[in-house]
Point group: C2
Chain length 155, copies 2
């Protein structure tokens, strides 16, 4: 872990909420000059602490996609099959998140799709391309209460 001082942690919490804040606006909350803040943000980006900046869209505005949560069970956990699945999931834009978990399922996926039909088509391809995926169950999200990627950074 990179060591982050109090200023870094403050900045990280702020830019996780709003990455469009200017250095000057950030300076109102962090007692540093705008230049110092820019230097720190640049360093945090270079170190990879800040991986990227993204725009978060309103789901309704881009066509009311439905969120599905898929629980996968796999037969084998051989590294090359894992790598293949990982690559498959990465390439699939509809897959928002993928976790390798303990418990009943082996993987939990968060998938957005236009409807049940296109979701089933996606999962059919997943099974076809990854033979070691044995089966899956699905939960359909009737509502999304919260949707973010914020990692709380303690001050």
């Amino acid at each position: 872990m990179t060591d982050l001082d109090r200023f870094d942690r403050q900045l990280l919490n702020l830019v996780q909420q709003d990455a469009a804040l200017t250095a000057e606006q950030l300076a109102e909350h962090v007692s540093l000059s705008a230049s110092a803040i820019q230097r720190r943000l640049k360093r945090l980006r270079e170190q990879g602490v800040i991986q990227r900046q993204i725009a978060v869209l309103d789901a309704a505005a881009v066509g009311q996609p439905t969120t599905f949560i898929a629980n996968l069970q796999v037969e084998s956990e051989r590294p090359e099959l894992m790598a293949r699945l990982r690559a498959w999931l990465d390439a699939e834009a509809a897959v928002q998140q993928a976790f390798y978990v303990t418990g009943e399922a082996d993987f939990v996926l968060v998938v957005t799709s236009w409807d049940a039909v296109s979701y089933e088509a996606l999962m059919a391809r997943l099974l076809a391309d990854n033979p070691h995926v044995r089966r899956y169950t699905t939960q359909v999200a009737m509502g999304v209460l919260k949707r973010g990627l914020v990692l709380p950074v303690p001050q």
Copy 2:
């Protein structure tokens, strides 16, 4: 749904990947002038299609938090209890995502926490503050294969 033309959809797909691109850089992919692109982005922000811009952090760099997936079962789905739970989840920074789902569980939460102890403490508070939450099961993420919020916007 706001109607979005081909240019808007192109821009949305680009800024979901990288919100730090300048208008001039975007102009290399979208056949519009930088001015037109900035006007469109401004409009998309004002319309709420682009809800916000956020920085995505490297989880490892901010202290190796663990991701937990909690499946909640609630006793009652009365609107005021739902609203209370929603507010509770919103206020809790460790809760990254919350879905109201069909199937066995009623809610699926994606939670990041420093360790099992702080996760259990969080869930204990959740139960204490929301009496209609009957029980929950937990899946612990051993690995995060993918982590994003991209909504594919068809061209």
